[in-house]
């Protein structure tokens, strides 16, 4: 692979501009220069500084990114979390030279994504969201990968063939190589897209929801492979995900983005700790509905709630203090439920973060 990287950035990176969010208590690394680099500003594979992106749609301007600043170290696996429409994909597309930023600066491998786009493209891999149709249907997996690697990524044919064999056997996909792309399942197509993103051994790989269509076992296999591959090749991975398990198990650090602002960067463990919720009371009953959840959430001492099918989770500092009130509400509605205290998970931290942002 062509190697002509400039020296790593050594500049001090300014804290977030006025568009950036306020630091939360217990999450001191959310904003400011301290959050830019995992090890100072040296050794950064990705550097983003006060990045803005505004879309014009139907005469209205929508701010997708509002002063995002971020640093991702070389060889790091970095996950971008956030609700739908938060700005994750916009950020990744700007870094992959697919979108133009409206303001601010971004560098990948020391190259400016706007002015040195072609140099950036030489060192990145990319797998977009919803791209499981994005290959030639009537070509086999092997032919597709060979075409993309050799024609579009300049990998010699012999190397491309060897890498196709090696990567596919690492993820147990070798028996699918000679099947037409169209005959694969959605998850298998997604695997091909991920393989395509790394076939040229990029220095930085951007993966937008890479495990979206994968079953849990395959997703784990792909994560394990990518992690060991990244370690072996020194590859930096920046991925977006809604899969909290993926973020927890796969990522060295995560960034939480909402309303176009980066609200947190740190390890998954830091993220959980940063949320001012200490306990989670989980209530399970098939009779739970929106009205019940509304009443439960209004109990003093409950900071937030999240619901899924037949389960409501209440986030609070001290569950024992709200327990009597909870039982009273359930009694009012005539609901028999199973109650349990659980450790806050990354998913809970995510829900609390999103809920707090929504509440201003």
């Amino acid at each position: 692979m062509e190697k002509s990287l400039k020296p790593p950035l050594e500049r001090e990176v300014r804290p977030l501009s006025s568009g950036g969010g306020q630091a939360r208590s217990g999450a001191s690394a959310i904003t400011g220069a301290g959050s830019i680099g995992c090890a100072g500003s040296k050794g950064l594979a990705v550097m983003v500084e006060a990045l803005h992106k505004t879309y014009s749609t139907g005469g209205k301007e929508v701010q997708a990114l509002r002063g995002v600043s971020l640093g991702i170290g070389k060889g790091e696996v970095f996950g971008l979390l956030g609700p739908n429409g938060a700005g994750k994909t916009t950020l990744v597309k700007i870094l992959a030279t697919l979108l133009r930023a409206s303001g601010g600066r971004a560098e990948v491998g020391g190259y400016d994504v706007g002015r040195e786009a072609d140099k950036v493209r030489r060192i990145i891999g990319y797998a977009g969201q919803d791209s499981e149709r994005s290959a030639y249907f009537r070509l086999t997996v092997r032919e597709n990968l060979l075409y993309f690697a050799h024609a579009l990524r300049d990998v010699p044919v012999s190397s491309a063939r060897e890498r196709i064999e090696r990567i596919s056997s690492s993820i147990g996909f070798e028996d699918r190589l000679d099947k037409h792309f169209i005959s694969l399942s959605g998850g298998e197509k997604q695997l091909v897209v991920v393989m395509r993103a790394i076939i040229h051994e990029p220095e930085v790989c951007f993966l937008d929801e890479p495990s979206k269509s994968l079953d849990p076992l395959t997703a784990r296999r792909v994560r394990d492979f990518l992690k060991s591959y990244a370690r072996e090749k020194g590859m930096t991975i920046c991925l977006t995900t809604h899969n909290m398990r993926e973020a927890e198990e796969f990522c060295d650090r995560i960034g939480f983005i909402n309303h176009g602002q980066l609200r947190f960067t740190g390890t998954p463990a830091d993220f959980k700790r940063s949320v001012t919720v200490k306990e989670v009371l989980e209530i399970s009953s098939p009779m739970l509905d929106g009205a019940v959840e509304e009443r439960l959430r209004s109990i003093p001492g409950v900071s937030n709630s999240a619901s899924s099918e037949s389960t409501v989770r209440l986030y609070c500092d001290d569950a024992s203090k709200v327990l009597n009130e909870v039982l009273a509400v359930l009694n009012d509605f005539g609901i028999k439920a199973h109650l349990s205290m659980i450790e806050p998970s990354l998913e809970d931290a995510f829900a609390v973060f999103v809920g707090n942002d929504a509440g201003g």
């Binding site: 879309y55 014009s56 597309k93 992959a96 030279t97 697919l98 979108l99 133009r100 072609d118 140099k119 493209r121 030489r122 990145i124 891999g125 990319y126 797998a127 977009g128 919803d130 791209s131 149709r133 994005s134 290959a135 030639y136 009537r138 070509l139 032919e143 075409y147 993309f148 050799h150 024609a151 579009l152 990524r153 300049d154 037409h180 897209v193 395509r196 993103a197 951007f206």
Partner: protein, 269 residues
Amino acid sequence: MARALKLFYMAVWRNFLVLTRYKANFLFEILTSLFIGGCMLILSAAFDTSMLGEMVGSTNYVAFMIFGISFQSWQGTALWSAADLFRGELSTGQIDYTFSCPFSRYWYIVSNIAAQAVQSTIFFVPMFCVGLWFTGETLTFPGLLLGLAATTISVAGLAQLGAIFAALVLKYRQVTAIFGFFNLAFQFLTGMFIPFQLLPAPLQALGFGLPITFGMDLLRHYVMGTRPLMVVEYEWIALFAQLVALSAAAKFFVSWLERNAKEEGLHYI
């Protein structure tokens, strides 16, 4: 240039694999080409050959039409194959991957058009051969070579317009109406199916601006022995000048339209 060559031969390889895997469609493409050639044989009796003789110096209406149709198939390839490629990539999302790769967008488009032209030639050959058979008296080997050279330069010029149309897809997503307008205009303004000399002067002026006009005129002149629209040397100069000017315009527009398209993002029609 080596990169462009690689893009070209890999696109040829990819296209042929895809083409032969849609077997029924492949068969009917060939049948259509033969069918049109056959129909021309039957229809030849109905043409007013004396009018054609006065206009262009040849009464061979069948060959005149066949070369027009052959040219149209290459025109379609040159003008629209890259736009179709991008429309397909936009709808499947492949465009994002493609544009995250390091290569000249201009050469990517031109290489893909050239690869598609190789494919179109398969279907062009039967029709073209029927046309040649009808020109038995006037056909010479040097004439055939010069005619094909003029055709190639003309198609290369058209491919530059095709590159601009492809880049328009990036920005405007849906360009079928633009396709329809220009396709029709090009057919009538260039003497593809009716003698160019029949067109009113203002339309002829427009036609002289299009590379097909000179390419087709030179092909017919060298192969059929028709009277050229102007001195052949001037036609060759005009063809080359159009190729250079359109290449410069295409490079500029491809880069400009890509930059513009990236304000909103490439994916999704």
